[in-house]
Protein backbone atom coordinates (compact mmCIF):
# COMPACT_ATOMS: atom_id res chain seq x y z
CA UNK A 1 0.00 0.00 0.00
CA UNK A 2 1.51 3.34 -1.02
CA UNK A 3 0.48 6.75 0.20
CA UNK A 4 1.74 9.82 -1.56
CA UNK A 5 2.17 13.38 -0.36
CA UNK A 6 1.82 12.44 3.30
CA UNK A 7 4.37 12.50 6.07
CA UNK A 8 7.74 10.94 5.38
CA UNK A 9 7.33 8.59 8.35
CA UNK A 10 4.03 7.39 9.70
CA UNK A 11 3.62 4.82 12.44
CA UNK A 12 0.24 3.60 13.62
CA UNK A 13 -0.39 1.42 16.66
CA UNK A 14 2.96 -0.34 16.48
CA UNK A 15 3.48 -3.28 18.80
CA UNK A 16 6.63 -5.33 19.18
CA UNK A 17 7.15 -8.14 21.61
CA UNK A 18 10.45 -9.97 22.28
CA UNK A 19 9.34 -13.03 24.22
CA UNK A 20 7.79 -11.64 27.38
CA UNK A 21 9.19 -8.17 26.86
CA UNK A 22 6.90 -5.64 25.22
CA UNK A 23 9.25 -3.25 23.45
CA UNK A 24 6.49 -1.28 21.73
CA UNK A 25 2.95 -0.97 23.00
CA UNK A 26 0.90 0.80 20.40
CA UNK A 27 3.29 3.52 19.30
CA UNK A 28 2.05 6.24 16.95
CA UNK A 29 4.33 8.69 15.25
CA UNK A 30 4.23 11.16 12.40
CA UNK A 31 7.35 12.81 11.01
CA UNK A 32 6.59 15.58 8.50
CA UNK A 33 8.80 16.03 5.45
CA UNK A 34 11.56 18.59 5.68
CA UNK A 35 11.87 18.57 9.46
CA UNK A 36 14.65 17.79 11.87
CA UNK A 37 12.81 15.52 14.23
CA UNK A 38 14.15 14.53 17.66
CA UNK A 39 13.08 11.19 19.06
CA UNK A 40 13.41 11.27 22.83
CA UNK A 41 12.88 8.76 25.55
CA UNK A 42 14.58 6.96 28.39
CA UNK A 43 16.56 3.76 27.87
CA UNK A 44 14.25 0.91 26.91
CA UNK A 45 11.56 3.29 25.67
CA UNK A 46 11.46 1.55 22.29
CA UNK A 47 13.32 4.10 20.16
CA UNK A 48 15.80 1.68 18.62
CA UNK A 49 13.13 -0.96 18.06
CA UNK A 50 10.93 1.58 16.28
CA UNK A 51 13.84 2.66 14.08
CA UNK A 52 14.74 -0.95 13.26
CA UNK A 53 11.15 -1.61 12.24
CA UNK A 54 11.26 1.44 9.99
CA UNK A 55 14.44 0.11 8.39
CA UNK A 56 12.86 -3.30 7.86
CA UNK A 57 15.38 -4.99 10.13
CA UNK A 58 12.78 -6.12 12.63
CA UNK A 59 9.18 -7.06 11.93
CA UNK A 60 6.41 -5.58 14.07
CA UNK A 61 4.15 -7.87 16.08
CA UNK A 62 1.23 -5.65 15.13
CA UNK A 63 0.57 -2.24 13.62
CA UNK A 64 1.75 -0.31 10.59
CA UNK A 65 4.86 1.66 9.70
CA UNK A 66 5.21 3.66 6.51
CA UNK A 67 8.19 5.31 4.86
CA UNK A 68 7.44 7.60 1.95
CA UNK A 69 3.93 6.14 2.14
CA UNK A 70 5.12 2.56 1.68
CA UNK A 71 4.98 -0.30 4.13
CA UNK A 72 8.35 -0.07 5.87
CA UNK A 73 9.02 -3.78 6.36
CA UNK A 74 8.15 -4.72 2.80
CA UNK A 75 9.29 -1.54 1.07
CA UNK A 76 12.50 -3.10 -0.19
CA UNK A 77 15.64 -1.62 -1.69
CA UNK A 78 13.82 1.04 -3.75
CA UNK A 79 12.73 2.86 -0.61
CA UNK A 80 15.97 2.18 1.27
CA UNK A 81 17.92 3.83 -1.54
CA UNK A 82 16.30 7.08 -0.37
CA UNK A 83 17.31 6.60 3.26
CA UNK A 84 20.55 6.92 5.18
CA UNK A 85 20.66 4.96 8.42
CA UNK A 86 23.05 5.13 11.33
CA UNK A 87 22.53 2.17 13.66
CA UNK A 88 23.16 2.46 17.38
CA UNK A 89 26.79 1.48 18.11
CA UNK A 90 27.66 0.99 14.45
CA UNK A 91 29.99 -1.94 13.78
CA UNK A 92 31.71 -2.20 10.44
CA UNK A 93 34.18 -4.75 9.08
CA UNK A 94 37.10 -4.18 11.47
CA UNK A 95 39.81 -4.97 8.90
CA UNK A 96 38.62 -2.51 6.30
CA UNK A 97 39.71 1.09 6.08
CA UNK A 98 37.47 4.14 6.38
CA UNK A 99 37.72 4.68 2.64
CA UNK A 100 36.93 1.03 1.85
CA UNK A 101 33.84 1.09 4.06
CA UNK A 102 32.54 4.22 2.37
CA UNK A 103 33.26 2.89 -1.11
CA UNK A 104 31.60 -0.40 -0.21
CA UNK A 105 28.53 1.47 1.03
CA UNK A 106 28.50 3.73 -2.04
CA UNK A 107 28.61 0.83 -4.48
CA UNK A 108 25.46 -0.61 -2.92
CA UNK A 109 23.52 2.23 -4.52
CA UNK A 110 22.64 1.81 -8.17
CA UNK A 111 24.45 5.01 -9.17
CA UNK A 112 27.48 4.30 -7.01
CA UNK A 113 29.62 2.53 -9.58
CA UNK A 114 31.19 5.53 -11.30
CA UNK A 115 34.66 5.49 -9.71
CA UNK A 116 35.29 9.21 -10.15
CA UNK A 117 31.95 10.23 -8.68
CA UNK A 118 32.34 7.76 -5.84
CA UNK A 119 35.86 8.92 -5.05
CA UNK A 120 34.80 12.57 -4.94
CA UNK A 121 31.82 11.73 -2.76
CA UNK A 122 33.96 9.68 -0.37
CA UNK A 123 36.59 12.44 -0.15
CA UNK A 124 33.92 15.06 0.54
CA UNK A 125 32.27 12.96 3.24
CA UNK A 126 35.55 12.14 4.96
CA UNK A 127 36.22 15.87 5.12
CA UNK A 128 32.66 16.72 6.15
CA UNK A 129 32.54 14.37 9.14
CA UNK A 130 36.00 15.34 10.38
CA UNK A 131 37.92 12.21 9.39
CA UNK A 132 40.35 14.00 7.07
CA UNK A 133 43.70 12.19 7.01
CA UNK A 134 42.17 9.00 8.39
CA UNK A 135 40.82 7.53 5.17
CA UNK A 136 43.40 4.74 5.16
CA UNK A 137 42.96 3.87 8.82
CA UNK A 138 41.38 0.51 9.58
CA UNK A 139 38.09 0.47 11.46
CA UNK A 140 39.65 -1.48 14.35
CA UNK A 141 42.10 1.40 14.88
CA UNK A 142 39.41 4.08 15.11
CA UNK A 143 38.24 5.55 18.41
CA UNK A 144 34.57 5.31 19.38
CA UNK A 145 33.97 8.87 18.25
CA UNK A 146 35.69 8.28 14.91
CA UNK A 147 33.56 5.19 14.30
CA UNK A 148 30.50 7.29 15.00
CA UNK A 149 31.68 9.83 12.41
CA UNK A 150 32.26 7.01 9.94
CA UNK A 151 28.73 5.83 10.71
CA UNK A 152 27.35 9.25 9.89
CA UNK A 153 29.42 9.44 6.70
CA UNK A 154 28.13 6.08 5.44
CA UNK A 155 24.58 7.18 6.21
CA UNK A 156 25.09 10.21 3.97
CA UNK A 157 26.80 8.36 1.10
CA UNK A 158 23.63 7.86 -0.95
CA UNK A 159 22.57 11.52 -0.66
CA UNK A 160 19.43 10.44 1.18
CA UNK A 161 16.10 12.23 1.37
CA UNK A 162 15.63 10.84 4.86
CA UNK A 163 18.30 10.33 7.51
CA UNK A 164 17.48 7.98 10.37
CA UNK A 165 20.12 8.34 13.05
CA UNK A 166 20.05 6.23 16.19
CA UNK A 167 21.97 8.15 18.86
CA UNK A 168 24.30 10.03 16.48
CA UNK A 169 26.02 11.87 19.34
CA UNK A 170 26.73 8.76 21.40
CA UNK A 171 30.41 8.38 22.22
CA UNK A 172 31.34 11.83 21.01
CA UNK A 173 33.08 14.48 23.06
CA UNK A 174 31.42 17.93 23.34
CA UNK A 175 33.20 19.17 20.22
CA UNK A 176 32.16 16.07 18.29
CA UNK A 177 28.59 16.53 19.46
CA UNK A 178 28.63 20.09 18.26
CA UNK A 179 29.93 18.96 14.88
CA UNK A 180 27.16 16.36 14.56
CA UNK A 181 24.56 18.99 15.31
CA UNK A 182 26.17 21.33 12.77
CA UNK A 183 26.13 18.49 10.26
CA UNK A 184 22.42 17.89 10.84
CA UNK A 185 21.91 21.61 10.42
CA UNK A 186 23.85 21.52 7.13
CA UNK A 187 21.80 18.74 5.53
CA UNK A 188 18.38 19.90 6.71
CA UNK A 189 17.76 21.93 3.56
CA UNK A 190 17.32 18.86 1.41
CA UNK A 191 17.03 16.03 3.93
CA UNK A 192 14.52 15.13 6.60
CA UNK A 193 16.38 14.05 9.72
CA UNK A 194 14.82 11.69 12.24
CA UNK A 195 17.18 11.04 15.12
CA UNK A 196 17.12 9.66 18.62
CA UNK A 197 19.17 11.10 21.42
CA UNK A 198 19.44 11.62 25.16
CA UNK A 199 21.11 14.99 24.82
CA UNK A 200 18.27 17.44 25.22
CA UNK A 201 20.36 20.57 24.66
CA UNK A 202 21.15 19.33 21.15
CA UNK A 203 17.49 18.64 20.46
CA UNK A 204 16.46 22.09 21.56
CA UNK A 205 19.18 23.62 19.39
CA UNK A 206 18.50 21.92 16.11
CA UNK A 207 15.11 20.24 16.06
CA UNK A 208 11.90 21.54 14.53
CA UNK A 209 9.81 18.94 16.26
CA UNK A 210 10.19 16.20 18.83
CA UNK A 211 8.45 13.11 20.02
CA UNK A 212 8.82 11.81 23.56
CA UNK A 213 8.34 8.08 23.98
CA UNK A 214 8.33 5.90 27.03
CA UNK A 215 7.24 2.41 27.89
CA UNK A 216 6.87 1.62 24.21
CA UNK A 217 4.29 4.35 23.65
CA UNK A 218 4.17 7.87 22.33
CA UNK A 219 3.84 10.27 25.26
CA UNK A 220 4.02 13.59 23.48
CA UNK A 221 4.72 14.87 19.99
CA UNK A 222 4.86 18.33 18.50
CA UNK A 223 7.06 21.32 17.81
CA UNK A 224 9.58 22.32 20.46
CA UNK A 225 7.26 25.16 21.46
CA UNK A 226 4.33 22.81 21.82
CA UNK A 227 6.31 20.36 23.89
CA UNK A 228 7.65 23.11 26.16
CA UNK A 229 4.16 24.52 26.53
CA UNK A 230 3.43 28.18 27.27
CA UNK A 231 5.06 28.76 30.62
CA UNK A 232 2.25 31.02 31.94
CA UNK A 233 1.84 28.93 35.04
CA UNK A 234 5.25 29.22 36.68
CA UNK A 235 6.89 32.42 37.98
CA UNK A 236 10.16 33.21 39.66
CA UNK A 237 10.48 35.99 42.21
CA UNK A 238 13.68 37.15 43.93
CA UNK A 239 12.86 38.60 47.34
CA UNK A 240 15.02 40.60 49.74
CA UNK A 241 14.07 40.66 53.41
CA UNK A 242 11.95 38.33 55.50
CA UNK A 243 8.57 37.49 54.02
CA UNK A 244 7.44 35.89 57.30
CA UNK A 245 4.26 33.92 57.04
CA UNK A 246 3.70 34.75 53.39
CA UNK A 247 4.51 31.28 52.13
CA UNK A 248 2.10 29.67 54.58
CA UNK A 249 -0.66 32.07 53.57
CA UNK A 250 -0.09 31.56 49.86
CA UNK A 251 0.10 27.79 49.66
CA UNK A 252 -3.43 27.45 50.97
CA UNK A 253 -4.77 29.63 48.16
CA UNK A 254 -6.63 27.45 45.63
CA UNK A 255 -4.89 29.15 42.66
CA UNK A 256 -1.39 28.27 43.94
CA UNK A 257 -0.17 24.77 43.11
CA UNK A 258 3.24 24.85 44.78
CA UNK A 259 5.98 27.12 46.03
CA UNK A 260 9.65 26.19 46.04
CA UNK A 261 12.12 28.42 47.85
CA UNK A 262 15.90 28.56 47.73
CA UNK A 263 18.49 30.90 49.26
CA UNK A 264 20.54 32.83 46.67
CA UNK A 265 23.05 34.79 48.77
CA UNK A 266 21.13 37.48 50.61
CA UNK A 267 18.11 36.91 48.39
CA UNK A 268 15.45 34.27 48.48
CA UNK A 269 14.26 32.74 45.22
CA UNK A 270 10.63 31.73 45.05
CA UNK A 271 9.35 29.54 42.26
CA UNK A 272 5.59 29.70 42.28
CA UNK A 273 3.57 27.33 40.15
CA UNK A 274 -0.03 28.41 39.68
CA UNK A 275 -2.89 25.97 39.55
CA UNK A 276 -4.89 28.53 37.60
CA UNK A 277 -2.89 30.43 35.02
CA UNK A 278 -5.52 33.20 34.88
CA UNK A 279 -4.66 34.02 38.48
CA UNK A 280 -1.22 35.31 37.49
CA UNK A 281 -2.43 38.90 37.99
CA UNK A 282 -2.91 38.34 41.72
CA UNK A 283 0.59 37.04 42.38
CA UNK A 284 2.76 40.12 41.90
CA UNK A 285 0.55 42.49 43.98
CA UNK A 286 0.48 39.93 46.75
CA UNK A 287 4.28 39.75 46.84
CA UNK A 288 4.81 43.49 46.33
CA UNK A 289 2.49 44.47 49.16
CA UNK A 290 4.13 42.19 51.68
CA UNK A 291 5.66 44.13 54.57
CA UNK A 292 9.27 43.35 55.47
CA UNK A 293 10.45 42.31 52.03
CA UNK A 294 11.11 43.78 48.62
CA UNK A 295 10.56 42.16 45.24
CA UNK A 296 13.90 42.53 43.45
CA UNK A 297 13.03 40.49 40.41
CA UNK A 298 9.88 38.91 39.02
CA UNK A 299 9.47 36.99 35.76
CA UNK A 300 7.95 34.02 34.06
CA UNK A 301 10.07 30.95 34.69
CA UNK A 302 12.12 29.67 31.78
CA UNK A 303 11.17 26.11 31.06
CA UNK A 304 13.78 23.96 29.43
CA UNK A 305 13.14 20.93 27.27
CA UNK A 306 14.67 18.94 30.08
CA UNK A 307 11.93 20.16 32.45
CA UNK A 308 9.28 19.25 29.90
CA UNK A 309 10.89 15.90 29.18
CA UNK A 310 11.17 14.96 32.84
CA UNK A 311 7.60 16.03 33.40
CA UNK A 312 6.40 13.92 30.46
CA UNK A 313 8.34 10.78 31.28
CA UNK A 314 7.98 11.28 35.02
CA UNK A 315 4.66 9.49 35.08
CA UNK A 316 6.29 6.33 33.76
CA UNK A 317 8.27 5.54 36.86
CA UNK A 318 5.34 3.95 38.57
CA UNK A 319 4.72 1.55 35.66
Amino acid sequence: MAKSGGPIIEVNGLYKRYGKVKALRGMDLIVPRGTVFGFLGPNGAGKTTAMKILMGLVSPTRGEAFLFGRDAFHAGPAVRSRIGYLPQDPEFHPDRTVREILKFAGRLYSGGWNPLVLRKRVDALIEQVGLAGKGRRRVRALSGGERQRLGIAQALIGEPELLILDEPSAGLDPRGRREVIDLIDDVRQHTTVFYSTHILDDVQRVSDAVAVVGGGRMLAQGSIGEILGTPVGTYTAMLRGKPDGLRERMVVEPWVASIDTAKRGELEEWTVRLADATAAGRLLPLLANQKGCDVVEFHLSDRSLEDAYLEIVGGLHGE
Binding site: L57, G76, P77, R80, S81, R82, E91, L108, Y109
Partner: protein, 261 residues
Protein backbone atom coordinates in the same frame (compact mmCIF):
# COMPACT_ATOMS: atom_id res chain seq x y z
CA UNK B 1 20.86 6.94 -6.61
CA UNK B 2 17.50 5.25 -6.83
CA UNK B 3 17.09 1.58 -7.54
CA UNK B 4 14.12 -0.60 -8.30
CA UNK B 5 12.97 -3.34 -5.99
CA UNK B 6 14.67 -6.47 -7.19
CA UNK B 7 15.32 -9.85 -5.74
CA UNK B 8 19.06 -9.39 -6.12
CA UNK B 9 19.16 -5.60 -5.77
CA UNK B 10 22.66 -4.25 -5.17
CA UNK B 11 24.28 -7.58 -6.08
CA UNK B 12 27.16 -6.19 -8.15
CA UNK B 13 28.26 -3.70 -5.50
CA UNK B 14 27.87 -6.18 -2.68
CA UNK B 15 29.76 -8.94 -4.50
CA UNK B 16 32.59 -6.54 -5.27
CA UNK B 17 32.74 -5.47 -1.64
CA UNK B 18 32.80 -9.07 -0.45
CA UNK B 19 35.57 -9.94 -2.90
CA UNK B 20 37.79 -7.11 -1.65
CA UNK B 21 39.25 -9.12 1.26
CA UNK B 22 40.37 -11.74 -1.28
CA UNK B 23 42.15 -9.10 -3.34
CA UNK B 24 44.95 -6.66 -2.56
CA UNK B 25 47.88 -7.34 -0.25
CA UNK B 26 45.94 -9.39 2.22
CA UNK B 27 44.52 -11.56 -0.53
CA UNK B 28 47.98 -12.00 -2.03
CA UNK B 29 49.38 -12.96 1.37
CA UNK B 30 46.61 -15.52 1.81
CA UNK B 31 47.39 -17.01 -1.61
CA UNK B 32 51.13 -17.15 -0.88
CA UNK B 33 50.66 -18.81 2.50
CA UNK B 34 48.09 -21.28 1.21
CA UNK B 35 49.99 -22.17 -1.93
CA UNK B 36 53.23 -22.48 0.01
CA UNK B 37 51.66 -24.72 2.62
CA UNK B 38 49.95 -27.08 0.16
CA UNK B 39 53.00 -27.35 -2.06
CA UNK B 40 55.45 -27.77 0.80
CA UNK B 41 53.45 -30.63 2.32
CA UNK B 42 53.07 -32.23 -1.10
CA UNK B 43 56.77 -31.83 -1.87
CA UNK B 44 57.80 -33.45 1.41
CA UNK B 45 55.25 -36.20 0.85
CA UNK B 46 56.20 -37.00 -2.76
CA UNK B 47 59.94 -36.46 -2.73
CA UNK B 48 60.51 -38.44 0.47
CA UNK B 49 58.20 -41.28 -0.51
CA UNK B 50 60.34 -43.64 -2.60
CA UNK B 51 57.75 -46.39 -2.39
CA UNK B 52 55.44 -44.72 -4.85
CA UNK B 53 55.02 -47.07 -7.74
CA UNK B 54 52.92 -45.36 -10.33
CA UNK B 55 54.94 -42.27 -9.84
CA UNK B 56 53.09 -39.32 -11.38
CA UNK B 57 49.70 -40.94 -11.10
CA UNK B 58 50.13 -41.61 -7.41
CA UNK B 59 51.82 -38.28 -6.87
CA UNK B 60 48.93 -36.62 -8.60
CA UNK B 61 46.57 -38.55 -6.40
CA UNK B 62 48.39 -37.11 -3.40
CA UNK B 63 48.23 -33.64 -4.95
CA UNK B 64 44.48 -33.78 -5.60
CA UNK B 65 43.86 -35.08 -2.09
CA UNK B 66 45.97 -32.37 -0.50
CA UNK B 67 44.51 -29.52 -2.54
CA UNK B 68 41.01 -30.77 -1.70
CA UNK B 69 41.68 -31.34 1.99
CA UNK B 70 43.30 -27.95 2.57
CA UNK B 71 40.66 -26.14 0.50
CA UNK B 72 37.81 -27.93 2.32
CA UNK B 73 39.17 -26.98 5.74
CA UNK B 74 39.88 -23.46 4.52
CA UNK B 75 36.39 -23.04 3.07
CA UNK B 76 34.79 -23.91 6.40
CA UNK B 77 37.08 -21.73 8.48
CA UNK B 78 37.03 -18.61 6.31
CA UNK B 79 33.26 -18.74 5.76
CA UNK B 80 32.00 -19.60 9.25
CA UNK B 81 33.63 -16.58 10.88
CA UNK B 82 32.24 -13.73 8.77
CA UNK B 83 28.72 -15.12 8.43
CA UNK B 84 28.22 -15.52 12.17
CA UNK B 85 30.22 -12.48 13.27
CA UNK B 86 28.51 -10.09 10.85
CA UNK B 87 25.14 -11.03 12.17
CA UNK B 88 26.19 -10.82 15.81
CA UNK B 89 27.89 -7.45 15.58
CA UNK B 90 25.19 -5.88 13.39
CA UNK B 91 27.13 -5.58 10.14
CA UNK B 92 24.53 -7.74 8.38
CA UNK B 93 21.80 -5.37 9.53
CA UNK B 94 23.83 -2.43 8.32
CA UNK B 95 24.27 -3.97 4.86
CA UNK B 96 20.57 -4.73 4.41
CA UNK B 97 19.67 -1.23 5.59
CA UNK B 98 21.18 -0.17 2.25
CA UNK B 99 19.38 -0.77 -1.05
CA UNK B 100 20.42 -4.41 -0.91
CA UNK B 101 17.96 -7.28 -0.73
CA UNK B 102 18.40 -10.01 1.83
CA UNK B 103 18.73 -12.44 -1.06
CA UNK B 104 21.69 -10.42 -2.30
CA UNK B 105 23.35 -10.65 1.09
CA UNK B 106 23.22 -14.47 1.15
CA UNK B 107 23.83 -15.15 -2.54
CA UNK B 108 26.64 -12.58 -2.59
CA UNK B 109 28.25 -14.16 0.45
CA UNK B 110 28.11 -17.64 -1.11
CA UNK B 111 29.36 -16.38 -4.47
CA UNK B 112 32.21 -14.27 -3.08
CA UNK B 113 33.51 -16.91 -0.69
CA UNK B 114 33.17 -19.67 -3.28
CA UNK B 115 35.08 -17.62 -5.79
CA UNK B 116 37.70 -16.60 -3.25
CA UNK B 117 38.24 -20.18 -2.06
CA UNK B 118 38.27 -21.53 -5.61
CA UNK B 119 40.93 -19.08 -6.81
CA UNK B 120 43.09 -18.77 -3.68
CA UNK B 121 42.87 -22.28 -2.30
CA UNK B 122 42.14 -24.52 -5.28
CA UNK B 123 43.25 -23.18 -8.65
CA UNK B 124 46.41 -21.25 -7.75
CA UNK B 125 47.89 -23.90 -5.40
CA UNK B 126 46.78 -26.60 -7.86
CA UNK B 127 48.37 -24.89 -10.84
CA UNK B 128 51.62 -24.38 -8.96
CA UNK B 129 51.60 -28.11 -8.22
CA UNK B 130 51.15 -28.78 -11.93
CA UNK B 131 54.23 -26.71 -12.69
CA UNK B 132 56.72 -28.58 -10.53
CA UNK B 133 55.32 -32.07 -9.92
CA UNK B 134 56.31 -33.72 -13.23
CA UNK B 135 59.73 -32.03 -13.01
CA UNK B 136 60.27 -33.43 -9.56
CA UNK B 137 59.51 -36.89 -10.86
CA UNK B 138 62.10 -36.45 -13.61
CA UNK B 139 64.63 -35.33 -11.04
CA UNK B 140 64.05 -38.59 -9.20
CA UNK B 141 64.86 -40.53 -12.33
CA UNK B 142 61.37 -41.33 -13.51
CA UNK B 143 60.00 -40.29 -16.87
CA UNK B 144 56.26 -40.43 -16.47
CA UNK B 145 53.80 -38.81 -18.88
CA UNK B 146 52.79 -35.24 -18.06
CA UNK B 147 49.18 -35.07 -16.88
CA UNK B 148 46.91 -33.49 -19.58
CA UNK B 149 46.41 -29.87 -18.59
CA UNK B 150 42.75 -29.63 -19.66
CA UNK B 151 41.70 -32.63 -17.61
CA UNK B 152 43.77 -31.42 -14.67
CA UNK B 153 41.97 -28.07 -14.87
CA UNK B 154 38.57 -29.79 -14.88
CA UNK B 155 39.65 -31.84 -11.87
CA UNK B 156 40.44 -28.59 -10.04
CA UNK B 157 37.03 -27.32 -11.18
CA UNK B 158 35.37 -30.31 -9.52
CA UNK B 159 37.26 -29.55 -6.32
CA UNK B 160 36.03 -25.96 -6.60
CA UNK B 161 32.47 -27.26 -6.97
CA UNK B 162 32.91 -29.30 -3.80
CA UNK B 163 34.31 -26.34 -1.86
CA UNK B 164 31.35 -24.26 -3.09
CA UNK B 165 29.13 -26.99 -1.66
CA UNK B 166 30.87 -26.52 1.69
CA UNK B 167 30.65 -22.72 1.52
CA UNK B 168 26.90 -22.89 0.86
CA UNK B 169 26.50 -25.41 3.67
CA UNK B 170 28.38 -23.19 6.13
CA UNK B 171 26.44 -20.06 5.09
CA UNK B 172 23.18 -21.96 5.60
CA UNK B 173 24.27 -23.22 9.02
CA UNK B 174 25.52 -19.74 9.96
CA UNK B 175 22.14 -18.27 9.07
CA UNK B 176 20.26 -20.89 11.06
CA UNK B 177 22.49 -21.31 14.10
CA UNK B 178 23.99 -17.82 14.70
CA UNK B 179 26.99 -19.16 16.69
CA UNK B 180 30.40 -19.87 15.27
CA UNK B 181 31.24 -22.93 17.42
CA UNK B 182 28.27 -25.07 16.37
CA UNK B 183 28.53 -23.88 12.77
CA UNK B 184 32.19 -24.89 12.50
CA UNK B 185 31.72 -28.10 14.49
CA UNK B 186 28.75 -29.31 12.48
CA UNK B 187 30.47 -28.36 9.23
CA UNK B 188 33.54 -30.43 10.08
CA UNK B 189 31.34 -33.33 11.13
CA UNK B 190 29.39 -33.14 7.88
CA UNK B 191 32.65 -32.84 5.94
CA UNK B 192 33.65 -36.26 7.25
CA UNK B 193 30.15 -37.70 6.91
CA UNK B 194 29.17 -36.33 3.50
CA UNK B 195 32.50 -36.99 1.86
CA UNK B 196 32.98 -40.42 3.30
CA UNK B 197 33.15 -43.02 0.54
CA UNK B 198 29.69 -44.55 0.53
CA UNK B 199 29.48 -47.24 -2.09
CA UNK B 200 26.93 -49.95 -2.76
CA UNK B 201 23.69 -48.11 -2.14
CA UNK B 202 21.30 -46.95 -4.84
CA UNK B 203 21.79 -43.33 -3.69
CA UNK B 204 25.57 -43.53 -3.47
CA UNK B 205 26.02 -42.05 -6.92
CA UNK B 206 24.33 -38.85 -5.76
CA UNK B 207 26.78 -38.13 -2.95
CA UNK B 208 29.56 -35.56 -3.39
CA UNK B 209 31.98 -38.09 -1.90
CA UNK B 210 31.73 -40.10 -5.13
CA UNK B 211 33.61 -37.32 -6.89
CA UNK B 212 36.59 -37.24 -4.59
CA UNK B 213 36.93 -40.11 -2.15
CA UNK B 214 35.57 -43.15 -3.85
CA UNK B 215 38.40 -45.62 -4.35
CA UNK B 216 38.62 -46.95 -7.89
CA UNK B 217 39.95 -50.47 -8.62
CA UNK B 218 43.24 -48.75 -9.43
CA UNK B 219 43.43 -47.68 -5.81
CA UNK B 220 43.29 -44.03 -6.86
CA UNK B 221 40.63 -41.41 -6.27
CA UNK B 222 38.25 -40.60 -9.14
CA UNK B 223 39.80 -37.22 -9.92
CA UNK B 224 43.36 -38.52 -10.26
CA UNK B 225 42.05 -41.38 -12.41
CA UNK B 226 40.09 -38.89 -14.49
CA UNK B 227 43.15 -36.74 -15.22
CA UNK B 228 44.82 -39.72 -16.90
CA UNK B 229 41.85 -40.62 -19.07
CA UNK B 230 39.24 -42.45 -17.02
CA UNK B 231 35.67 -41.26 -16.81
CA UNK B 232 34.77 -38.79 -14.11
CA UNK B 233 32.81 -40.19 -11.19
CA UNK B 234 29.07 -40.49 -11.64
CA UNK B 235 27.69 -37.39 -13.35
CA UNK B 236 24.69 -37.62 -11.02
CA UNK B 237 27.05 -36.66 -8.19
CA UNK B 238 27.96 -33.45 -10.04
CA UNK B 239 24.33 -32.52 -10.56
CA UNK B 240 23.37 -33.51 -7.03
CA UNK B 241 26.19 -31.38 -5.63
CA UNK B 242 25.14 -28.39 -7.74
CA UNK B 243 21.52 -28.89 -6.68
CA UNK B 244 22.56 -29.09 -3.03
CA UNK B 245 24.41 -25.75 -3.41
CA UNK B 246 21.22 -24.16 -4.74
CA UNK B 247 19.13 -25.77 -1.99
CA UNK B 248 21.47 -24.69 0.84
CA UNK B 249 21.54 -21.15 -0.56
CA UNK B 250 17.76 -21.10 -0.91
CA UNK B 251 17.25 -22.28 2.67
CA UNK B 252 19.72 -19.65 3.88
CA UNK B 253 17.89 -16.91 1.94
CA UNK B 254 14.51 -18.02 3.29
CA UNK B 255 15.80 -18.08 6.88
CA UNK B 256 17.60 -14.75 6.50
CA UNK B 257 14.52 -13.05 5.06
CA UNK B 258 12.67 -13.84 8.29
CA UNK B 259 15.61 -13.00 10.53
CA UNK B 260 15.46 -10.03 12.88
CA UNK B 261 18.64 -8.03 12.62
Amino acid sequence: MASKRRYLAGFGGYLWGELLPWLGWRGLLRILVWTGLVNLVLYLDVVTDWDIGWVTLESLDEAVDLVWLFAALGAIVVTAGPVVAERRRGTAGWVVSKPVSRGTYIVGKVAAHSLGVAVSMVFIPGLVVYQWLPGAEHARGFAPPTPPFGRYLIALGVIALLTTFLVALVVMLGTLLKRRGPVTGISFFLLIFIFAPVVGYSWSKYTPGMLINWQRPTGLTPLADYVFGSRLGPIEAVWATALAIVAFTGIAVAAFRRAEL
